[in-house]
């Protein structure tokens, strides 16, 4: 029993001759349109439409409570944004946070996935516990860790005092400690999903390959490098890319933990854009922020993926 044992079953059923695989070149007939429209209309009206509207808002002076009609102002918002040091501070913090969460989380989750792929006795417990961070509302995760970090009544400082390591500190309010403290929470919160995805990747590697490598005298590290990692790479790549995007765009966790403080040290771009839009009512300006976030992240990811995929071909 493992975290992901339901996956290979469906995989096996359809894997052999792929009966579920789409047949090529089929056009949608009337019946199919009838099936698609109930979902397609809301998607177009409430998702694609607003997205395009949102992008267009970035070129207007749209504001909350504005009485005169909204006007097109071209790229003025973007020109302002370029000089907005607060925004670029938050952008930098967002990148630090996204990398700071994604990378250690990947390392930890990979370790846990490798452990859970072994025949260990406490696997069921790890599986049961992994549900907690996954299923909890982000708001509750934030509240929970505020209780852990609480300077007086929190368990972290009490443990530090018990171990004789000093008096502890107010982690979430310290200028130097706030960002690392929220990053730890981010890592904790996303561990289960990452672990499950990696575990599924591990279970797709044929066991015989491991055996063959072991018979050839390959040690654990060699086996990991030559057998496990190559098979895991596509999953690992997708997982890190998605985690990076999600983390960069995250909001609730840090909103509850620090609300961007102290002194903006944990003000992620989404918190900044939220305040700009819904506290100061600068809809056009906040939309421009959203556009810049999407653009930069897309370019970075495209480069990352292109580089990695190319690297993979040379293998």
């Amino acid at each position: 029993m493992t975290l992901a044992n339901a996956a290979p079953r469906s995989e096996r059923q359809s894997g052999r001759r792929s009966p579920g695989q789409p047949r090529p070149g089929k056009q949608l007939d009337h019946g199919a349109w009838f099936l698609v429209l109930p979902a397609l209309i809301p998607i177009l009206v409430l998702s694609v439409g607003p997205l395009l509207y949102g992008i267009s808002l970035a070129f207007t002076d749209s504001q909350a409570g504005r009485t005169e009609p909204t006007e097109w102002i071209g790229t003025l918002n973007f020109q302002d944004l370029v000089h907005d040091t607060l925004f670029w501070d938050s952008f930098r913090i967002g990148l630090l946070w996204a990398v700071g969460v994604t990378v250690p989380q990947f390392a930890l989750a990979l370790g846990l996935a490798l452990l859970l792929n072994q025949n260990l006795r406490l696997r069921w417990l790890a599986r049961a516990l992994a549900i907690i961070p996954w299923a909890m509302p982000e708001v509750v995760v934030g509240i929970m860790w505020r209780l852990v970090y609480n300077p007086d009544a929190g368990i972290l400082n009490e443990t530090i005092r018990d171990l004789g390591l000093g008096d502890g500190r107010d982690w979430l309010s310290g200028l130097a400690t706030a960002l690392p403290a929220v990053i730890v929470v981010g890592i904790w919160a996303g561990m289960p999903q990452t672990t499950v995805a990696l575990l599924a990747g591990l279970q797709n590697t044929p066991y015989e390959l491991h055996e063959a490598a072991a018979l050839d005298g390959a040690g654990a590290w060699r086996r990991f490098r030559t057998v496990t990692w190559p098979a895991l790479r596509p999953v690992a790549l997708a997982v890190t890319a998605l985690n990076f995007i999600w983390n960069f765009n995250s909001f609730a966790l840090v909103y509850v933990l620090t609300n961007g403080g102290p002194g903006g040290r944990t003000r992620l771009p989404m918190l900044f854009a939220y305040e700009e839009a819904f506290r100061y009512g600068q809809f056009g300006y906040a939309a421009a922020m959203g556009c810049v976030m999407v653009a930069v992240i897309s370019v970075m990811l495209a480069l990352h993926l292109a580089g990695r995929l190319k690297g993979g071909d040379e293998r």
Binding site: I155, A277, I297
Partner: protein, 280 residues
């Protein structure tokens, strides 16, 4: 199996590592529970303990006194239930078409599912806010439900496409050969096989809506309309000065429904997610 037998010291190391992971995963949650049952006197103490010396339910009572938790839970329930049901009802037929037909539309829909994961919500919520405001659907659960439906669609489609592909096509073809029409085939052959996947998807959509915070924060203005996660943040008070006991108690209560549901469907979710991921 023999070839990969781990040495005894290696085994010990593995168990030690696993233990560290277990502690890391569990301790914040245990601390939440411990705090929720502590009387005010113990919470004021500079030397907190893991086990409350004098456990009490006062915090829970006080939490219900301070904030409209029941109404908030009711709002969350309505929003999450409606969003889950509507999302699955409209997503299932589309997922079926996406899984069985290769057309430009299916490709575009798959692309949308992937791309929609990458957008910062602020770019969607501002226009949605303006649109819904013109329709007088701000501060209304109905407006929030509409947002939740669309927001949960990508993932619902993703999972359902995986489940549909796991239903062997041959079964449908056999039914067609036996003279069953398309609707008949879908209802009497495909639907029953798909049912467990549909339920799992609906429950997952329910939990994501139950847990959702950002859209609810933006769209719901008055305490009577707010959902549980938004009301929970009211316990934090100004400047982060919080009444720890009731805060912990309310947070603990808010988790129970999602934990319970998730414990039931966890296996199916990971299965559906992965099936979708592997196939696309």
């Amino acid at each position: 199996m023999t070839a990969l037998r781990t040495s005894r010291s290696g085994r010990t190391g593995q168990y030690l590592a696993l233990l560290c992971y277990l502690v890391f995963l569990a301790f914040p949650f245990l601390w939440l529970i411990s705090t929720a049952f502590k009387p005010a006197r113990e919470l004021g103490s500079l030397h907190p303990t893991w086990i409350p010396e004098d456990p009490t339910l006062d915090n829970f009572r006080q939490a219900f006194d301070e904030q409209p938790l029941l109404r908030a839970a009711g709002n969350s329930l309505v929003a999450a239930l409606a969003a889950a049901v509507v999302a699955v009802v409209i997503a299932t037929p589309m997922a079926y078409v996406m899984a069985r037909n290769r057309s430009k539309l299916s490709a575009a829909a798959t692309g949308w599912v992937v791309v929609s994961q990458a957008f910062p919500f602020v770019l969607v919520i501002i226009p949605l806010f303006l649109i819904l405001k013109n329709l007088h659907l701000i501060n209304s659960l109905f407006g929030l439900i509409m947002v939740y439906v669309v927001w949960s669609l990508p993932f619902a489609l993703w999972m359902l496409v995986g489940y549909v592909r796991a239903v062997p096509r041959e079964l449908e073809e056999a039914a067609a050969v036996d003279g069953a029409g398309r609707a008949r085939t879908l209802l009497s052959v495909t639907a029953p096989l798909l049912a467990p996947g549909i339920v799992a998807t609906a429950l997952f959509a329910f939990i994501t809506a139950w847990n959702e915070f950002f859209f609810a924060l933006v769209m719901l203005k008055t305490p009577e309309k707010q959902t549980l996660p938004v009301v929970l943040t009211h316990f934090l008070g100004a400047e982060g000065v919080a009444d720890l006991g009731p805060l912990a108690a309310a947070a603990f209560l808010a988790t129970i429904p999602s934990l319970a549901i998730f414990a039931i469907i966890q296996k199916r979710i990971t299965g559906g997610m992965l099936a979708g991921a592997v196939k696309s």
